[in-house]
Amino acid sequence: MIECKKIVKIYKTGSIEAVVLRGVSFSVNDGEFVAIMGPSGSGKSTLMHILGCLDSPTTGMYILDGHDVSTIADDGLADIRRKKIGFVFQSYNLLPRATVIRNVTLPLIYAGVDRLRREEMAKESLRAAGLPEDRWLHHSNQLSGGQMQRVAIARALVNDPAMILADEPTGNLDTKTGEIVLDTFQRLNHEHGRTIVLITHERYVAEHAQRIIHIKDGEIVDDEKNIKQRVTNYTNGTI
């Protein structure tokens, strides 16, 4: 469970202060699929960085899985990211000349998991992310955009995180491939009970979630239950 209490983030450049988040409070339960939606400049990226423990709030409290992480410093945050959070980025961020398996095992290397176990876990999460087995030994730069994003999803899953944080995961993909990726998230949420926080500026993408938090000018303006959750046509996960 994630709890944000009155999170404020202020960036200081010299004497100029930019208030990016103005007291954001919300909570996400385990097993929820939430979309955080807002136009660019709304502060959603900053919120994502705080949720992902890449940054700390100026004031306020952020409780992740029962622990207050708002005051932890650099290396401590790295530990939390490794254990609790799986990232999926817009631009995939895979190691280009490494195999798919190697990319997926990367978080486990830092977690100190032994070699054999690593490979097993990677295969398991590649299956969950729905990447066909014949691609597993390919180099990641030989894959299509949709396939790369599935590798990134598998990498996010591999350390069994409390939350998957997806930052515009469909931003670089065409509509059809984007749907496939969104379907993967839905399936992980439905079938595996994963908590997913999706950050996007597109209404259409946000509608794939169960709940949509609207953010504007650093404040939450609306928190709606998405009754008509969009269902994709790719439930079998073929690409």
Binding site: L54, A78, R82, N93, P107, I109, Y110
Partner: protein, 406 residues
């Protein structure tokens, strides 16, 4: 992250950019290679100089006349005085108990003729233990015996060069007659070639009995050098002291600074020569070391480029849980691996260069284990020193900025 994982990451990162890694390594290869080659040339030279000093005899103490001090301030030069006598040599033999053998000699240059050919060379009058003391071996015939000395025999032993000059190469003139200073000598032996040493060729020489030389050639009983062989290297300085004390007493000289003789220890000569060659080696190695520093800067340059190029990768690694230490170690390992590769290839190159120098320039070289260990140590140190700054820069990147980096 264990060491094996770090090495795997590092190796694959290096292999991604083979050409660049290779060229960067080349700087270290040349640096280490030239250091190894220079040290080996220096050490080889030192070895050959020491061997050549040792070849004049082992554990040798030489006693030679000192300055000729007249009434005025003019010194005729070291070695010019006729102050050492046969009696001094006999006294050393009798009283310096640590001396294993004592060989006085009288050396002067004379014109020598034989069968119409002639040469001007050094004639050394000496005793039967001389070959033992001065490491001289007999090729054919025999050396001067005690019997020859007692009976003032007019016999001569030729060095191989003198033999070549007087009788032609590879001849065996045993029993032939040579004429030194209008006195006829019978040739009884030829010595083996020793090659040139640091103190003139010991092959261009004629040995005659000491007593014969004093009586028929010099006309007095002075000697020019007394060679004393010590039992071991340890007793050399004791012998040196004993001889000094003895001769000061015999010559009635109260102050050792006024001594009319000098006692030289072979060890001192070796040490002096070694210190010269050491300086020479250090000089060569430092010049080569400059190229090593340039190579190190090349490594740093490449690592900085790599860190910039892989900013997003660093951001990702941090996002998925790498700590500062993990990133830092990865990049440090990369530069150390590069310099280690370079060091290894450099040792092979240095070895090859040393070999080439030996074969084509006939300068003796020796690649020692020490210089190899030094090369490995230095290359690892260069990797750490020049990799530290780029690694710290990588580790210090903010993951948010790194992930956004274009």
């Amino acid at each position: 992250m264990n060491i094996f994982d770090i090495l795997e990451e590092t190796f694959s990162a290096i292999m991604v950019n083979k050409a660049r890694s290779g060229l960067t390594i080349l700087g270290i290869v040349i640096g280490i290679g030239s250091v190894i080659a220079m040290i080996s040339i220096g050490q080889g030279a030192q070895g050959s100089i020491e061997a050549s000093i040792q070849s004049i005899g082992s554990n040798l103490v030489l006693v030679r006349p000192g300055f000729q001090r007249g009434a005025g301030p003019v010194s005729a030069g070291r070695g010019s005085a006729t102050t050492l006598t046969q009696a001094d040599a006999d006294a050393i033999k009798k009283e310096v108990t640590l001396a294993k053998a004592v060989a006085p000699e009288i050396s002067r240059r004379y014109q020598i003729t034989a069968k119409g050919k002639n040469t001007n060379t050094q004639v050394t009058g000496t005793v039967s233990v001389y070959p033992e003391v001065r490491n001289i071996e007999i090729d054919t015939g025999s050396f001067i015996t005690d019997q020859n000395i007692q009976s003032l025999s007019k016999v001569a032993v030729l060095g191989p060069t003198t033999r070549d000059d007087l009788f032609g190469e590879w001849s065996a003139p045993i029993g032939e007659t040579i004429r030194i200073n209008k006195v006829d000598f019978k040739v009884i032996g030829i010595t083996k070639a020793k090659g040139g040493s640091g103190f003139g060729s010991q092959d261009d020489v004629v040995y005659v009995p000491l007593s014969t030389a004093q009586r028929f050639l010099a006309g007095d009983t002075y000697v020019t050098t007394i060679s004393v062989e010590a039992e071991s290297a340890d007793s050399m300085s004791a012998i040196q002291q004993q001889i000094t004390d003895l001769l000061l007493a015999r010559h009635n000289i109260p102050d050792s600074t006024l001594a009319d003789f000098q006692v030289m220890n072979q060890q001192d000569i070796v040490q002096t020569a070694s210190s010269i060659t050491n300086t020479f080696t250090v000089l060569l190695a430092s010049i080569a070391g400059i190229s090593l520093i340039v190579g190190g800067i090349g490594i740093m340059n490449m690592m900085l480029t790599t860190v910039t190029e892989r900013t997003r990768e660093i951001g990702l690694r941090k996002a998925i849980g790498a700590k500062k230490m993990d990133i830092s170690l990865q990049f440090l390992a990369e530069s150390v691996m590069l310099t280690f590769f370079g060091g290894f290839l450099g040792i092979l190159l240095g070895w090859f260069l040393a070999y080439v120098v030996t074969v084509f320039a006939s300068i003796p070289t020796s690649v020692s284990l020490n210089s190899i260990l030094l090369a490995f140590g230095v290359s690892a140190a260069i990797g750490i020193v020049f990799g530290y700054y780029p690694a710290r820069r990588a580790a210090g990147l903010n993951p948010i900025d790194a992930l956004r980096y274009e």
